[in-house]
């Protein structure tokens, strides 16, 4: 019990404030209005809602909402309160000086940065992998169809039946190596001049005319298809989409936006997802080779094809002529290191490959996709 304090009292019924005198006791406050009427507030019924910053009046609220408010301008009142009451009862945060707050802020900044890094490096990939495992194949197929509709809208497919037959044969040879896969592989050649191929979620694979024209043998195309099929089987595209959604959710949460819920759900943009990353590409290379071997197809075709691509990229200067499509689907790092890895892996395996059909000749077959 010390000197009485002067303050204002609001009764929660009218906005008029009344001048009061406040006495601080061991377990509560006695509030006396200037006309003599007084009331007692026990600390257990009181919450402090303002007065945590320097210079801020102390505001105490009693009971549930709108049960009476006490305001005392003198900041020493806050300290007296905390000295008197037990910490828990008064929702106590001691009046902090600027010094200790600065320390807390620095610690928070460091912690925030650390957490962000941890979440980005490890949290995101783990979450993406776990969520991807839960995505049904049916959803992947729908996603793939939506993406394909967008691509095929402005690009004509090459539908020559002989070309389709050749591709269907290669596809069936390859899929014999994975009899238990839930995916139904459909390969389409689109009339796009770029040298590239895209594996969409759910099993649809798009080969660009430019790539087809670069293949010199059916084994080369089989190598590319094997690689793309492995992207499908290992769900690289889906994982990229999930990771993208999680990343945009993380970013929104960082900006303290409650919309992160909506963003994370809707952030699964179909196209942003087709950047798989190096690990995924290497996995597709490795598993693609294995698929070729199990299917009895000569692995050297795949090696030779990527060697040819690497040479041509060096010659033409990759990036200088990169079209919009290439930039969008830039999933295939070319380069000599990749060729070296492939040729090292391709020497394993004991089965003798059985050649793919060559009638009509492959030169004829690949020319069946006529540029429009």
């Amino acid at each position: 019990m010390g000197e009485p304090w002067r303050g204002w009292f609001l009764d929660g019924q009218t906005p008029e404030r009344r001048a009061v005198t406040v006495d601080v006791h061991a377990s509560g406050l006695r509030i006396t209005t200037d006309d003599g009427a007084s009331r007692v507030w026990w600390f257990s019924d009181v919450r402090q809602t303002q007065g945590f910053d320097r210079g801020e009046p102390v505001r105490l609220e009693h009971g549930d909402d709108d049960g009476g408010v006490l305001i005392v301008d003198d900041p020493a009142f806050g300290q007296a309160l905390h000295a008197m009451s037990s910490p828990g009862a008064l929702c106590a945060r001691r009046l902090r000086g600027a010094g200790s707050r600065a320390g807390m802020v620095v610690a928070s900044v460091v912690l925030a940065l650390g957490l962000t890094v941890v979440l980005y490096q490890w949290g995101l990939p783990i979450a993406a992998a776990a969520l991807t495992a839960a995505v049904p194949v049916h959803w992947e197929e729908q996603l793939g169809e939506q993406a394909f509709a967008l691509i095929a809208a402005s690009n004509r497919p090459c539908t020559d039946p002989r070309l389709e037959a050749a591709i269907t044969y290669i596809t069936s040879r390859l899929t014999r190596a994975v009899p238990h896969t839930p995916y139904h592989f459909r390969v389409v050649v689109l009339d796009i001049a770029d040298v590239n191929a895209v594996a969409l979620p759910g099993g649809r694979v798009v080969i660009f005319r430019g790539l087809l024209a670069m293949t010199e043998s059916p084994e080369m195309l089989a190598g590319v298809l094997g690689h793309e099929f492995q992207h499908v089987i290992h769900r690289h595209a889906t994982r990229a989409i999930v990771r993208q959604a999680a990343l945009s959710g993380l970013i929104s949460a960082l900006t303290q936006d409650a919309r992160w819920v909506a963003r994370a759900l809707g952030g699964a943009s179909v196209f942003g997802a087709l950047q798989y990353g190096r690990a995924a590409e290497e996995e597709a290379d490795r598993e693609g080779l294995r698929m070729l071997q199990a299917a009895g197809i000569d692995q050297q075709g795949m090696v030779a094809f990527f060697r040819k691509i690497a040479v041509d990229d060096d010659r033409s200067g990759e990036g200088s002529s990169a079209s919009a499509w290439q930039r969008l689907f830039a999933t295939h790092p070319a380069g000599q290191s990749r060729v070296d890895t492939l040729s090292a892996l391709a020497t394993t395996g004991a089965l003798r490959p059985s050649p793919l059909p060559r009638s009509p000749s492959w030169d004829e077959t690949r020319a069946l996709c006529v540029p429009s």
């Binding site: 009218t14 906005p15 404030r17 910053d53 801020e56 709108d66 939506q146 949460a253 909506a262």
Partner: protein, 318 residues
């Protein structure tokens, strides 16, 4: 301590940039630790700080919202409103329908979206006002979504028909709706503007946009704010705003420069600076007789607030 009835009826903002920065940073840590769930409580903390640093007539505001309310509101919004929107978006694909059905669905979706915008804005305002108090008395909002929707539809129709000339009138009507249905305890806010004096200014502004490289808009926004405040009153006393285009430009330019130079870190300081600016330019033209005002028991759910966030319309702090 100043005696009660001679307090100047002005607004003042006492917050500090560093304190708000501290709030943001601790929020950030908690959001990351809780993988995002804390974001609702974070919003409440920020609002509570800003409101408790805003003073009017010698007393500070208080914000009574709770994070759990915002979380529940968002969940309800997702279920009640998000589901129909999602269905309308994906139905054409799922049904494998042709262009006509898809077009019809997206048209219906647009209409539904406009309705939801009206519902969200009205609901959010009701939630925010009922969670705000001054001198222990809560604010309230009684406007209905239907009436607001009509204002939106009429506003856009006339704006298009008049090639934009009607726009300031629509803005005024929309603002007037929000003000007229707001109340402080038993005292209702009043609004008596019709927006017509702004039409000519709006046209001048449109004409001068290119020659002034857009700077004329600061003048118009300031003019519009002064007009809207001047026609707002409570218990017969009018508000007054002293914002000018030049000062507004100074505020925005300074804030933008600060954010750019500090790569965004100065954001809390710019919020504080803006709050101080707006408070310093707002006052009441006289004293309000507080004796006749009483508390009312209005409360509201936070679904509108959740929908506002879901539809990406959140205007920020207030």
């Amino acid at each position: 301590m100043p005696p009660a009835h001679t307090t100047s009826w002005r607004a003042a903002f006492h917050g500090q940039g560093f304190s708000l920065f501290a709030v943001f940073v601790t929020n950030l840590v908690l959001i990351l630790v809780t993988l995002g769930v804390y974001v609702f409580w974070a919003k409440v903390r920020v609002r509570r700080y800003l409101f408790s640093q805003t003073e009017f007539g010698g007393d500070r505001f208080a914000f009574h919202g709770r994070g759990a309310e915002l979380l529940v509101g968002m969940l309800k919004a997702v279920v009640i409103f998000g589901a129909p929107i999602a269905v309308l978006r994906t139905a054409p694909d799922l049904l494998g329908a042709g262009g006509l059905v898809t077009g019809a669905c997206s048209m219906v979706a647009s209409i539904v979206a406009v309705i939801f915008v009206a519902v969200a804005k009205v609901g959010a305002r009701r939630y925010r006002l009922t969670r705000t108090s001054w001198r222990g008395i809560r604010f309230a909002f009684h406007g209905g979504a239907r009436a607001f929707l009509r204002i939106i539809l009429e506003g856009w129709t006339f704006t298009i028909l008049t090639l934009g000339v009607y726009y300031p009138v629509y803005l005024t009507r929309s603002h007037g709706f929000m003000v007229r249905h707001s109340s402080f305890g038993t005292a209702r806010f009043e609004f008596d503007g019709d927006g017509k004096p702004l039409v000519l200014d709006f046209l001048y502004t449109l004409l001068l946009t290119l020659p002034t490289l857009g700077l004329v808009w600061f003048w118009f926004v300031a003019r519009k704010r002064r007009y809207l405040w001047a026609h707002t009153s409570i218990a017969g006393v009018r508000f007054r705003s002293t914002i000018t285009g030049a000062r507004l430009f100074g505020l925005v330019a300074g804030n933008v420069a600060a954010i750019v130079v500090t790569l965004g870190l100065a954001w809390p300081w710019t919020i504080v600076r803006s709050a101080r600016f707006h408070c310093a330019n707002l006052s009441l033209d006289g004293a309000v007789d507080l004796g006749s005002i009483r508390q009312t028991g209005d409360r509201a759910a936070a679904t509108g607030e959740g929908l506002l966030g879901l539809l990406d319309l959140d205007m920020g702090m207030v």
